[in-house]
């Protein structure tokens, strides 16, 4: 295989028997691509509930679209979209008790953040690096942290969150809480040493950690086949003594059911579990990778997965249940999200950008002499440039 050869992912068959068990050969599915349940839906999935979940998915999708626009306008500098992965992230959020359980996310998890109730204002503030950013403008865009939701600060370093997630779960166990930790990552992360180290430790320590692989099949330009010779990701759980579940990551109901089941297993004190959600990154990796189809994957492959759109699937299901979302209602919902984003952007921008002083804070719990010296130097430089120190 030459490095430039486009190597499409093998065709995927889905397991249409929605029996939740680990190590299935095919992803577990509840609702087909045509929106028809392949199995009677659990009672909890009333049309009202599905509409509610649909609105969360649509809000995240439109957030993506609006933020890409902001990026193109030069108002933010980086963005990692999760379009096409909404069922995975919204479905996963359903198994987390926000502000009670802990989450060590990865850098493509804004849909998860929104679904857990992190205010859009905070996410936008982070993307803009404004004064209203709870992380104080310290990280590149799309690296969120939200204290209230126990949504731990995101590292760009791949799989870096896996051993710490294990540690948080160990602490939860040590403290005798009923909390669990949820740790997310992409498929590429499973090649990293930290991933294996953290998974192994979690197994050995029986840490209450739910590991969730958002397998979108592309790590920038390397697809799953280039990542591992393993037939899939979830099977690796066996090596660490935990169950590995395989789910259709574009089927909201299936993700919710499987993640809830796996989280229940973890919560019951059985140790960790792994869920692999098979989904697809329909967009580019980031703005640094603007035209994926030009370089490393086919438009046909993307088209095929666009045909499996997780939001459309919920809409088809609602239609089947006799509660369709009419097109006018849908466009009103979209306009409402766009307005919401616009308003939050204006609000965030109005708070201004952190000044130079912020740079020296939070390095340590106190400010050592060398940082005070450096801050004094910068203060003088700033004063010279602005014709007088503002304070």
């Amino acid at each position: 295989m030459t490095p430039f050869q486009i190597n499409p992912a093998p065709p995927v068959e889905f397991l249409s028997v929605p029996e939740i068990q680990p190590f299935t050969a095919e992803p577990i599915r509840y609702v087909g691509e045509d929106g028809l349940p392949v199995h009677p839906l659990p009672d909890a999935y009333t049309p009202e509930r599905l509409r509610e979940l649909h609105s969360v998915m649509l809000r995240a999708r439109e957030f993506d679209r609006k933020l890409i626009t902001l990026l193109r306008q030069g108002r933010t500098t980086f963005y990692a979209q999760s379009s096409g992965m909404e069922a995975t992230q919204v479905g996963l959020a359903h198994s987390v008790r926000p502000g009670h359980d802990w989450v060590w996310p990865y850098y493509r998890d804004h849909t998860l953040a929104l679904a857990l109730g992190v205010p859009m204002f905070e996410l936008i503030s982070q993307c803009l690096g404004s004064n209203s950013d709870p992380s104080r403008g310290r990280q590149m865009p799309h690296h969120f942290a939200a204290r209230k939701q126990n949504f731990v600060s995101i590292s760009s370093s791949i799989a870096n969150q896996v051993p710490p997630a294990t540690g948080t779960a160990m602490a939860q166990k040590y403290l005798g809480t009923d909390e669990i930790t949820v740790c997310t990552f992409g498929d590429g992360a499973t090649s990293e040493g930290d991933w294996h180290a953290g998974m192994n430790m979690a197994g050995a320590m029986a840490a209450p950690c739910l590991f969730v692989c958002e397998n979108n099949q592309w790590a920038i330009s390397t697809n799953l086949r280039g990542q591992t010779a393993s037939e899939n990701i979830h099977i690796k759980a066996r090596a660490y003594g935990m169950p590995g579940f395989y789910v259709d990551g574009n089927d909201l109901v299936a993700v919710m059911e499987v993640c809830t089941h796996a989280a229940g297993w973890v919560r019951a004190g059985n140790g960790p579990a792994l869920v692999e959600c098979l989904t697809y990154r329909v967009g580019s990796h980031s703005n640094a990778d603007a035209d994926a189809e030009k370089h490393y994957r086919t438009r046909e492959e993307v088209q095929e997965w666009l045909g499996r759109d997780p939001i459309v699937r919920v809409e088809k299901l609602l239609e089947h249940l006799g509660h369709p979302i009419e097109s006018e209602e849908r466009s009103n919902m979209i306009s409402a999200v766009h307005r919401e984003v616009d308003q939050q952007v204006i609000r965030a921008e109005a708070t201004g950008q952190p000044d130079w002083r912020i740079m020296f804070e939070d390095v340590y719990s106190d400010m050592p002499a060398h940082l005070r010296e450096e801050a004094a130097m910068l203060r003088a430089e700033q004063a010279e440039q602005t014709g007088g120190d503002r304070k």
């Binding site: 600060s153 590292s155 602490a171 040493g193 192994n200 050995a204």
Partner: protein, 340 residues
């Protein structure tokens, strides 16, 4: 409890000042901090029943149980990573990395997670953990049991880096590290574990991270070091003292933050400085000290700042003794500064 564990159990602490060695000081600090604070947990490779390969955690599992003192899989990345995750959730983890030479697999966890958690989250999350690790040479360990990698860690803002050389400092600094709110990389000069003996008070105390100590006062030259080389600094100062040279010996104790004020004051008084550490010279932390001395005390200097360091070779096995600075090389560097 196994027979070994029973044998390792600590004698009851006495209120009087006692003379102990450095490793006992470490064990006592851990014991007392675990007694004081339930959130302190101890883990690493072979730290439980075995008590650590150097016996720094001897008896602690017997005293506090396997819940608080436990062995982990053989994986530095997950030991450090777990410490980060525990600290973020509110524990006070003290992780042991068996040798500083093996911190490599945990390096990313140290520099990307531990060091940056407070900063990158705007203070929403913090990772106040302690990583204890034996470092330095002189034990015939070849390069994977002898290196002095502290400079790597001093180059990462967000970490505090300390290296004691006396039992008093080891105990006081370790307690300060555990009680602090920042990640601390705690290097223990392994050749001093049993060689360094000294008094510790019976009462509870801490040593502030960031403060150097003047081991002896002098007027002709400031001899500055930290960690395993300190006894050699004393020997060199003795030799020079016998020739009528008054040497001020300073133990940095903390590298980040380091006590620039004390060092600069000393050099302004003596006019000469020789810096000693056993790490390779290129990008050695003492380069920072030398820079700071010349920047702050240039007019006081009577000679160029001298430096004695390890050689820029991988740490050798057979030449263990001649690789290390040693009192003769230190004395020669002092003489050079005095004769400038």
């Amino acid at each position: 409890m196994t027979a070994t564990q029973e044998k390792q159990s600590l004698p009851a602490a006495t209120p009087e000042t006692r003379t102990i060695n450095l490793i006992t000081a470490i064990t006592e600090a851990l014991h007392e901090e675990m007694e004081r604070d339930d959130r302190v947990v101890l883990f690493g490779q072979d730290v439980g029943a075995r008590g650590g390969v150097f016996m720094a955690t001897a008896g602690l599992q017997a005293s506090f149980g396997q819940r608080r003192v436990f062995d982990t899989p053989l994986s530095e990345a997950s030991i450090v990573g777990a410490a980060v995750g525990m600290a973020v959730r509110g524990l006070k983890p003290v992780a042991e990395i068996q040798f500083a030479d093996y911190m490599g697999p945990g390096f990313d966890q140290i520099i990307s997670q531990a060091a940056k958690m407070r900063y990158r989250s705007g203070g929403q999350y913090t990772a106040p953990l302690v990583i204890r690790t034996p470092s330095g040479g002189g034990v015939k360990g070849g390069h994977h049991h002898s290196q002095s990698p502290e400079s790597y860690y001093t180059h990462t803002p967000g970490l505090k880096v300390v290296m004691p050389s006396t039992p008093y400092d080891a105990k006081g600094l370790l307690k300060a590290a555990i009680r602090g709110e920042d990640p601390v990389i705690f290097f223990e000069p392994k050749r001093l574990y049993r060689a360094s003996k000294g008094e510790v008070p019976g009462h509870d105390y801490t040593v502030r991270i960031g403060e150097a100590a003047i081991r002896r006062e002098g007027t002709d030259l400031s001899l500055i070091g930290y960690g395993g080389v300190m006894p050699d600094l004393e020997r060199a100062a003795d030799a020079l003292g016998a020739e009528g040279v008054s040497v001020e010996v300073i133990d940095l104790r903390s590298l980040v933050p380091w006590d620039k004020e004390l060092v600069v004051d000393s050099v302004q008084k003596t006019g000469r400085a020789v810096l000693v550490s056993e790490a390779p010279r290129i990008s050695n932390f003492m380069g920072e000290v030398a820079y700071s001395i010349q920047a702050a005390a240039f007019d006081s200097l009577l000679a160029p700042v001298g430096q004695v360091a390890g050689f820029d070779t991988p740490y050798p096995y057979v030449q263990d003794k001649i690789y290390l600075p040693g009192p003769n090389r230190i004395t020669a560097a002092c003489v050079q500064a005095l004769n400038y």
